[in-house]
């Protein structure tokens, strides 16, 4: 089960583009984290208000629902860059050289097609809730305090578009590795054995102490 992996770097255009995208991805991931953090304060505030002052926070559920897409999607590309989305790699880790790069290339192109379809679909979902001629441009609102829903729906095509860029770079990276028969290509996550990966995770905790 693959978790995070290493991404090599050099001075090629591809590697520079790869690194250029990282700050944006990391910023989006930090936004995800901050949203989780604010959820914590929101709950503490809501509970205190309700329990001790009998002034429950109006629209508490609406706010949480609006924050969830922020938490769940913003970091999607950051995780893809590091190869962090879960998969079974028993079969693929047995492959070597070009066979493996071919497999990875197909796999990434496959995801790219899916994500382009989902950008279309999630944009349509946003578009149905958005109407410039209506107050707050809203054609879909939350149940309690009537919060417009379009901003949170818009986050999905935005996050997926960044992911699509990332997938294009990875496809390029794998295609390059396939053509040039590279051993350690840049800009793509390299598979680690389960043991290497566990060591990496452990070191991460080590350093954080």
């Amino acid at each position: 089960m693959a978790g995070s992996a290493a991404v090599l770097e050099d001075s090629s255009i591809l590697s520079r583009l790869d690194r250029a995208l990282v700050p944006l991805e990391r910023f989006f991931a930090l936004v995800s984290g901050l949203a989780v953090f604010s959820l914590m304060f929101l709950a503490a505030y809501s509970v205190t208000g309700r329990k001790f002052f009998n002034t429950p926070l109006s629209g508490y559920v609406d706010y949480i629902e609006a924050a969830m897409p922020l938490i769940a999607f913003m970091g999607v590309s950051y995780v893809q860059r590091a190869g962090g989305h879960i998969r079974m790699d028993i079969v693929i880790s047995a492959l070597k050289g070009r066979a493996m790069w071919l497999f990875e290339l197909i796999s990434v192109l496959f995801i790219l097609v899916l994500i382009i379809a989902l950008i279309w679909g999630s944009w349509a979902h946003f578009d149905r809730s958005f109407d410039m001629s209506k107050p707050l441009w809203s054609r879909d609102s939350s149940i309690d305090i009537g919060l417009p829903i379009w901003p949170s729906k818009l986050l999905i095509p935005v996050a997926f578009s960044v992911l699509a860029l990332r997938l294009v770079l990875q496809a390029w990276g794998y295609a390059r590795a396939l053509v040039l028969n590279l051993e350690n290509p840049v800009a793509v996550p390299l598979i680690l054995t389960v043991a290497e990966q566990a060591r990496l995770e452990a070191e991460q905790l080590e350093g954080a102490d």
């Binding site: 309700r50 009998n54 002034t55 429950p56 109006s58 508490y60 559920v61 349509a124 979902h125 149905r128 209506k134 107050p135 809203s138 054609r139 879909d140 609102s141 939350s142 149940i143 309690d144 009537g146 417009p148 829903i149």
Partner: protein, 314 residues
């Protein structure tokens, strides 16, 4: 022709007209036109209109108060204290509003055609602890009430805390809300009656409006015989719904007794006070809001009141 129908929860009084419609249509066309009723498998309940608009399924049920911005026109039927006193009247006012050009036009933007309502009795509240039978006792009360109803309770000093119907039991159990406004069948099927100590018998603050709609393209591509079978089955399906709900209401008092729930009759003076606080400002605000958006709010409200008078007169 085979239609997918998206509803939610489980089969209950609230979905009986849909089930009956499916049965009748299949009967009348000799099995040529069938409907698969799906309880939550095809869409989230708050997105049934989206599904209709996409063409994901051909028929669906939704409640106006779940997303007022999607269906501004029909929310007139959720205004507090409209004075609707039984299900027949609810059917009549809904039919009148559904036939109004403003309503058909708004729904056409979702590629939807309003077929029939799911008539609901007045949403009375159940609660735990001391009955909230005066406006003072409603101050700070956390009530699960959506749409116009929520606004009414807010005007009276309560805090509307809307969870969806399926989460209401847990919300009540955990004290997130201390009262829940539902129609009787929902108090039964979502279990809120099991948590309750009391139920207001005569507060009658209003109700929600939950239309059944069809996808316009799907409706138009039906054969003449199929469309005839569908149209002609609507009154029958509604009659079946009303009869079935009537049975449920008859049993209601014995249910209250069995669960040890106190039936609270609220003083007329309290109701008048509530109405003055909640109904008139809410109505005026709603009309002004709609007119500002180019929706004939006053006309729609008058239509409801006139239909109500006509129904009672006949």
């Amino acid at each position: 022709t085979e239609w997918n129908v998206s509803v939610w929860g489980k089969r209950r009084a609230f979905t009986e007209h849909v089930e009956k419609l499916a049965e009748l249509v299949s009967e009348k066309t000799g099995g040529e036109f069938t409907m698969n009723v799906s309880y939550g498998g095809l869409s989230k309940n708050r997105e049934n209109l989206d599904g209709i608009s996409i063409g994901a399924f051909e028929m669906a049920q939704f409640c106006a108060g779940y997303h007022p911005d999607k269906n501004r026109v029909v929310t007139v039927l959720e205004l507090p204290f409209l004075g609707v006193s039984n299900l027949e009247e609810e059917v009549a006012v809904s039919r009148a509003v559904y036939a109004h050009p403003a309503a058909t036009e708004e729904m056409a933007q979702w590629n939807a055609k309003l077929l029939m309502t799911s008539p609901m009795p007045q949403y009375n509240i159940v609660g735990t602890g001391e009955p909230r039978d005066t406006l003072e006792k409603m101050q700070g009360m956390r009530v699960r009430a959506t749409g116009g109803l929520g606004a009414a309770f807010e005007a009276a000093g309560a805090v509307p805390t809307s969870v969806t119907a399926t989460e209401a039991y847990q919300a009540m159990e955990s004290g997130v809300v201390d009262t829940v406004a539902f129609a009787q069948h929902a108090h039964l099927s979502f279990g809120t009656i099991n948590q309750a100590d009391w139920w207001t018998a005569n507060l009658n603050p209003g109700t929600v409006n939950c239309p059944v709609v069809v996808n316009i393209d799907a409706y138009e591509s039906l054969s003449d015989a199929e469309r005839e079978a569908l149209d002609s089955s609507i009154p029958e399906a509604l009659d079946h719904y009303l009869a079935n709900y009537g049975e449920l209401l008859k049993k209601w008092d014995s249910v209250l007794e069995e669960k040890g729930v106190q039936k609270v009759e609220i003083d007329q003076s309290v109701i008048d006070e509530f109405r003055a606080k909640a109904a008139d400002p809410a109505r005026e605000a709603w009309i002004a809001d709609m007119e500002a958006q180019g929706i004939p709010g006053q006309e729609l409200y008058d239509l409801v009141i006139k239909t109500l008078a006509d129904t009672r007169g006949s």
